[in-house]
Every structure is written in C-alpha cells, then in structure tokens.
Subunit: 208 residues, 2 copies
C-alpha cells in the first residue's frame, strides 16, 4: 500500500436517471476527482486528446494488454476495442488521485471484486413514472426501446442494496449536492485523513 491512496467511486444508474449530467457537475465541482480514462484502438477524433478523452493505442498494444490481464473490462464495438485498465487505476489511486468510473451494474460488480474498497453510488429516479416520462420525453427512442429500458431499470434497481450510497435525482441541485457530499465524506474518512495528515498528526501526538 502506498502512503497516499485515492478512492475509487463507481456511479451506476438506470438509463434516464440523469447520471451523465450529475457526474459532469460533480467533476466540475470536485476538481480532485478524475473520470477514469478508457483505452481504445479507434482513431482520435478532432479535438480528442490522448490521455484525457482516451488512451489511444494500437490493436497490437491493446491485445497485449488483454493477454497481460490488464483490463478490468473490455469490449469490441464496431471493430474497435474499448477497455478500462486495472493498472492505470492502481497507479492513479496509489498516487493519491480519486477515480470515478461511470459503468453499468455488471462492470460495478467486476470492479468491486478487484477493488473491494471501491465506493458504489446508485443514482435513483424519484419514481418509475418520472423515469418513464423522462425516457419518453427524449423523443429519440421507440416505444419498444422505452419499454425495454424500463424493464432494465427495474432489474437494476432491484440490486440497489449492493451499493454504499443512494442518491435520488428528483431535484437536480439537491442530487448534485448529495453526490458531492458523498465524495467529500469519503475523502474525510479517518484512515484516509490520517494518511494525508500524518505529518501534522505526528507533530500533535504526545511525546514518548
């Protein structure tokens, strides 16, 4: 274990719960939390920066990483690989950085197997009615897709007990404050603070 160890936050939500906006607001407010950067074999698009949007690697390099067991999870989509590197997460957290993973419930389980101290946060819609009207309100999905998303949402919500914290996204500003509170409280946990404050604490301890 390194002297300063960051935390891993896993944020999971059913489609339509508002996760993307909440995570964006969190990353803006909590500048010390980094979104996990995936590895990919696809070519960078205009404006994409290596190491920031993705780690862009060759197909050979990616497959070598697969063989080395570097990936927490990976998938091939339209002929390109995408994956989350266990080693990258280990290095960033060992350097004291907090890492946020925006993944699905299956990914969350895999992460927890490798990093049992990862903090699981579930974003819950205030009700199924609200979720349904949000999904329909997008106007982009067919009735069948909306129905499937709702069924998936019910199944995901049944697993809510696997998470450490539950944030209800009813009113956005309250949900944003709540998500920030969870992240901040984890940073204030005694073991982490003791590591961070080791020098200050040593100076304050009684002599002998």
């Amino acid at each position: 274990m390194s002297m300063s160890t960051g935390s891993i936050f896993i944020v999971v939500a059913p489609s339509g719960a508002g996760k993307t906006s909440l995570v964006a607001a969190l990353l803006k407010a909590a500048s010390d939390v980094e979104l996990s950067v995936s590895f990919t074999t696809r070519a960078p698009r205009a404006g994409e920066v290596d190491g920031q949007h993705y780690h862009f690697v060759s197909r050979d390099a990616f497959e070598a990483m697969i063989a080395a067991g570097d990936f927490l999870e990976y998938a091939e989509v339209y002929g390109n690989y995408y994956g989350t590197s266990v080693r990258w997460i280990r290095e960033r957290t060992a350097a004291g950085h907090d890492i946020l993973l925006e993944i699905d419930w299956q990914g969350a389980r895999q992460v927890r197997e490798i990093f049992p101290d990862a903090v699981g946060i579930f974003i819950l819609p205030p009700s199924l009615q609200v979720l349904e009207s949000r999904l329909r309100g997008r106007g982009t999905d067919s009735t069948e897709v909306v129905e499937r998303r709702l069924a998936e949402a019910r199944a995901e919500i049944a697993l809510v007990g696997e998470y450490d914290y539950i944030v209800v996204n009813d009113e956005f500003e309250q949900a944003r404050t709540d998500l920030l509170a969870v992240v901040r409280a984890v940073q204030l946990r005694a073991p982490r603070q003791c590591e961070r404050l080791a020098r200050v604490l040593a100076q304050m301890q009684p002599a002998g």
Copy 2:
C-alpha cells in the same frame, strides 16, 4: 429495529478546535439533525424551555432514572445532576430523527459501546501552533490552564483513529461544508435510504 432509524453523530474535539461554532452552524443548516437534550435537576433559567434546552426533572425522578440504568453518562455538578438518557436517544432515533451528541472522548467511547453504529467525527485544529494561539487569544485562561489544555489536546488527538471521520478546522467555511457533507453522506447510506425509500423501491422492483 424500527422501520425508520435515525443516526447518532458524536462530535469530539480538543478545546479550542472550534467545535461549538461548527456544531451550531451544522444544526442551523441541517434542520433534520437534533442536538441531544440532557436531563437535569437544576431549575430552568429565564427563557429555557423544557424538552428543548433541557429535560427538567426532580431529584427523585433523576435518581430513579439512575437506578433504572437510563443514563449513558451522568454527573453531579454544584449539587445538580446532568445526564444523557439512553432511552431518549433510542426513542428519537427509532422515530427516524438524527441525534448529535457534543461530548468528550470518554463519553464518545461509552456511546459507541451502547450504539456501535454511532458515527464519530473528530474536529482537528490545523496545527498545535494554531490551537495554542487560539487558546491564548481567548485571553480568559491563565498560562497554566492553556498548557493543561494543550497537553489534553495532544492526548485526545492521539485517539483520532477511533473516529470515523476527521474534519480539519483550518478555514471555518470549509470545515462547516465538510461537517455537513459527512452528515448528509451518512443519511444517503444505502441501508438507511432503502428504509426511507421502501415504498418507492417496492414500486420499482420487477414483478414476481
């Protein structure tokens, strides 16, 4: 266990760390957190309200409570009894209220023995120098008293690992935000949220 169970927060700090102001700010911002109300046998002062500032009881009633083992801790000061009732805390938390106890490290240990889920928060001054200058700055205490307080502070700080969260009171506004974040995050923990959201969650679970 009741269906809705509040949390117990224990806030401990060395003298001069700024606990009183921080707790006052917390109680103002988190209207759902109640300061524990002590029982006493002394007469109410002008403006003091029974059940709000203290529970005012007769000496006979207090001694009956001692005999019944009702007190978490009690003391006799200048001929009057003061005590914290275990039963009162149990009743308030069972009714879903969060209770905050402003006590010393010995009291904190007693509370944790009876309520192992109580959340311990330690308020830490940014350094011993700052603590010393705060204590001297009060101008109310002799050099001997300041020296004694500093020695006590060192001993208390040595026990910081017994607490769940550490809030450093360097800049007041940041410390206030941090204390609020800890309280809010505890309220968002999954087991508590599942209890609170039981009806909503039941409606969202898959059928069958």
